[in-house]
């Protein structure tokens, strides 16, 4: 539990820094501060999804229960972070781009990742036999990894044919040093938080398997 406590403290510290010690950006106003939690959320989601994919390959190869349990834990945490991304994203897009949702390539990819992660968890929920559950979810995870480039490609091609009226693309804003350090601190805090959550969820899975009546 110690790591989780440290992680929560780090996140709270980052939030305090964002709220009180980081200047308001002139162009977008206070809404720009959503950036400091929106981007770390999607990056944490990518980290968690990377663990799911990697552990799935390890499980198919070694049939090691721990890999399956880690994939399950990272999958649930990935759903959390993609959900946060998809909720903070539109709230930030509304004042900046004028619409709640745009089929921006990155947002669409995040939406797609949300669907696949949800499918992954529902699939796990629908199977009782631990071995079959491990194998099926691992196969889905590996195939999902293969699909990401196709989604990215087709959505990107689709978007370049119908360029969305992007008023102000906060793509790679050159942040002044003050904001950049806030962003990096926040990113670090959320990544630690992500790892801590996965570990906590892993212990929960261990507890569940231990108490699972044979």
């Amino acid at each position: 539990m110690k790591l989780l406590a440290v992680a929560i403290a780090a996140v709270l510290a980052a939030i305090v820094r964002i709220m009180f010690f980081t200047p308001i950006e002139l162009l977008q106003g206070a809404a720009q501060k959503i950036y400091y939690i929106h981007v770390p959320a999607i990056l944490s989601a990518y980290l968690a999804l990377g663990i799911v994919a990697l552990m799935s390959i390890v499980y198919l190869w070694l049939h090691d229960e721990r890999a399956d349990r880690l994939a399950e834990s990272a999958g649930e945490v990935a759903l959390l972070f993609t959900t946060v991304t998809l909720s903070t994203g539109p709230i930030w897009a509304k004042p900046i781009w004028g619409t709640w949702w745009t089929w921006d390539a990155r947002l669409t990819l995040t939406l797609f990742l949300w669907f696949v992660t949800a499918a992954y968890l529902v699939l796990r929920g629908a199977i009782d036999d631990p071995i079959m559950r491990g194998r099926y979810s691992a196969v889905l995870a590996v195939l999902a990894v293969l699909l990401i480039p196709f989604i990215h490609l087709s959505v990107y091609l689709f978007r370049t044919l119908h360029p969305m009226p992007i008023v102000l693309k906060p793509d790679r804003p050159s942040l002044p040093v003050e904001m950049l350090t806030t962003f990096l601190l926040s990113l670090g805090a959320f990544l630690v938080f992500c790892v801590a959550l996965i570990r906590a969820r892993y212990r929960l899975a261990l507890l569940r398997d231990a108490t699972a009546v044979p």
């Binding site: 959503i34 959320a41 903070t88 507890l207």
Partner: protein, 41 residues
């Protein structure tokens, strides 16, 4: 004198986003704790 861009007041969106994110994170941590407690029983 270049026209000074007036900074739009978007604090309501800013607060909304942080509340939503906070609720989701808190909700998940609580669910972890609650599920662990139920399993331990």
């Amino acid at each position: 004198m270049t026209p000074q861009p007036i900074t739009p007041d978007t604090t309501s969106y800013y607060h909304a986003a942080y509340l939503v994110a906070g609720a989701l994170y808190l909700g998940y941590v609580l669910s972890l704790w609650w599920r662990a407690r139920r399993l331990r029983k």
